[in-house]
């Protein structure tokens, strides 16, 4: 819009921008500062803004509490949840987009409205009966409830923008349906595949409820471990903030790679009629 802009207005605008951006940033800044403070500094009243940073808390958290093991558990569960979601979800999404199988798309949306706890109660009973509580199988199965529909929604959205003529010309050149899909369609939709993978990974990484009940000593994921820390050392703020920083850093970094597509990814399934 061609409204006049004076230097004073620009100055006020940027002041507003900075003040607004401080609000989301402040919480992360405070988390990192708490992680870098000694116990003495963390208990100081009034809170110190200037202090001697220490890496002790982060080192203690990583070394002393098997945090590496929890990180590995989270990674294994998220990795397999994403891979299985892609293997099953990509061809399904392509067929839904190509043949306009709207009923399947709609029923996937319903799956999202069902509270996780409605899935958790039956699965807990099944896994308890089969002695599979505290196994990767239990965690990956339940995380798939979240990641598989998400991958499909996102990919339907991306596949709908692939011109159908591409698959046809690939098949005229002698490729089968599967070959055409793998070597022609998927490379064109690679931004979508990447976005879907990253979002599904973050959803699994951040998952708390399923893991709270279905993980145990051998498979505990990071969110559950961090939750356990809270009851063990309520006043060790440096340690708690270190754990919070370590768990939340991977998703924050990952989002930067899919920044361009993330809103489209998060709203797909709801935006289409």
């Amino acid at each position: 819009m061609n409204r006049q802009r004076t230097p004073i207005k620009a100055f006020l605008f940027y002041t507003g921008v900075i003040l607004i951006c401080i609000i989301p940033l402040f919480v992360f800044a405070w988390m990192i500062m708490t992680a870098l403070k000694t116990q003495v500094d963390n208990l100081a009243v009034p809170p110190k803004l200037i202090f001697d940073p220490t890496l002790e808390n982060l080192r203690d958290t990583l070394a002393g509490r098997n945090f590496g093991g929890y990180l590995l558990n989270s990674f294994i569960v998220a990795f397999f949840a994403v891979i299985i979601s892609l293997l099953a979800g990509l061809p399904a999404a392509y067929a839904i987009a190509k043949y306009q199988l709207r009923k399947i798309g709609l029923s996937l949306l319903m799956a999202r409205m069902v509270p996780f706890i409605s899935y958790l109660i039956p699965w807990f009973i099944v896994f308890r009966t089969l002695h599979l509580v505290d196994t990767y199988i239990a965690l990956i199965t339940t995380h798939l409830i979240i990641t598989l529909p998400y991958v499909i929604w996102i990919m339907v959205n991306f596949f709908e923008n692939v011109p159908p003529s591409l698959e046809e010309s690939a098949r005229i050149d002698g490729a089968g349906y599967v070959q055409a899909f793998v070597y022609v369609i998927l490379p064109i939709a690679r931004n979508g595949v990447f976005t879907a993978s990253v979002l599904a990974f973050i959803f699994s990484w951040n998952q708390f409820l399923f893991s709270l009940i279905l993980s145990g000593r051998n498979t505990m994921t990071v969110p559950v471990a961090v939750f356990q820390f809270i009851s063990y050392d309520q006043i060790n703020w440096g340690g708690l903030a270190s754990a919070a920083t370590l768990i939340t850093l991977p998703p924050l970094i990952l989002t930067l790679f899919i920044q361009k597509y993330i809103i489209r990814g998060l709203t797909s399934g709801a935006v289409k009629e």
């Binding site: 809170p47 409205m113 009973i125 989002t255």
Partner: protein
């Protein structure tokens, strides 16, 4: 035909998988809700019809959890939609650093809810928390926040607004950026004021996007678990126990699987009804903008 093979074979693995991981537990959940089953007591399932549901009518803790769910959802969702839309309107212009602002607003959305809840719980701490410190700097009284019945829900709402307003903001901003320019140009030519343009052109055109954003958020806000469980576990007493937390306690603290299942069915019904209402609002806004 080969063509038909693609149509049915490509979705088959996903459909089979969804049948096992999604459809089966939903069915099992419904069946269980008609049974009395105390997992801790060692007895088996006993069919009792709709007694679990009827018992809810006289369960004060159930009504309390419904009230908490309603107050939390309305407060959080209302705050997010209003603030998110205002921020989107504010940022809807070309300026240096816009990409950076968008990146900053992605952080709360992507952050692990357990970590966010933990940090906010520390910030709300009575003695050492930064929030009470700032309050006393401005001469305001220190509050007990999460420890007091009267402030626990507002405190949880503030945290939820902090984490999810950015999502609404980014969805509405994306919609604003994709609007056609013609109506705005002709309105300026006709001498419309900024406020008139906002009220008569901009807001009606982004209303569908706002409703979609509200739908996405409402689904998750009604079912909020991580935030409340990490920060208060439903306390003090049951002052912040929403329906989802109550289902969890029934199932995994008391092991009353039948009762927990019936509560879960009620929770799902609630999400469904709210979404049907919102999609009705959405279809009326869609047709009014096209007319």
């Amino acid at each position: 035909m080969v063509e038909r093979k693609v149509k049915y074979l490509f979705p088959l693995p996903a459909l089979l998988l969804m049948g096992i991981i999604v459809v089966f537990p939903i069915g099992y959940n419904l069946v269980m809700s008609l049974h009395e089953w105390n997992l801790a007591g060692g007895s088996g399932m006993e069919f009792i019809g709709f007694k679990n549901y009827l018992a809810l009518l006289e369960d004060g803790r159930f009504w309390n959890s419904l009230k908490v769910t309603a107050v939390f959802t309305i407060g959080a969702l209302g705050g997010q939609v209003i603030i998110g839309t205002l921020l989107a309107l504010f940022f809807h212009r070309e300026f240096k650093g816009k990409a950076l602002v968008k990146a900053i607003f992605l952080f709360p959305i992507a952050a692990t809810p357990v970590a966010v809840s933990l940090i906010w719980a520390m910030m709300y701490n009575y003695d050492l928390g930064i929030i009470n410190h700032m309050f006393s700097m401005f001469g305001l009284p220190r509050l007990a926040w999460l420890a007091s019945r009267s402030t626990v829900i507002p405190a949880l709402i503030i945290t939820d607004i902090w984490q999810w307003t950015p999502l609404i903001m980014l969805i509405v901003l994306a919609s604003l950026e994709s609007l056609p320019q013609d109506p705005f140009e002709s309105a300026i030519v006709d001498g419309a004021t900024n406020f008139q343009i906002l009220r008569l052109i901009t807001l009606p055109m982004v209303r569908p996007a706002i409703v979609v954003a509200a739908m996405i958020r409402s689904i998750d806000a009604i079912k909020t678990f991580d935030l409340i469980y990490v920060m208060t576990q439903g306390g003090p007493d049951i002052a912040s126990e929403n329906l989802n937390i109550y289902v969890f306690q029934k199932g995994f603290s008391y092991f009353r699987m039948g009762q927990a299942s019936s509560l879960a069915v009620v929770l799902f019904t609630l999400v469904l009804v709210v979404n049907i209402v919102l999609s009705m609002i959405r279809s009326t806004t869609d047709s009014s903008t096209e007319a």
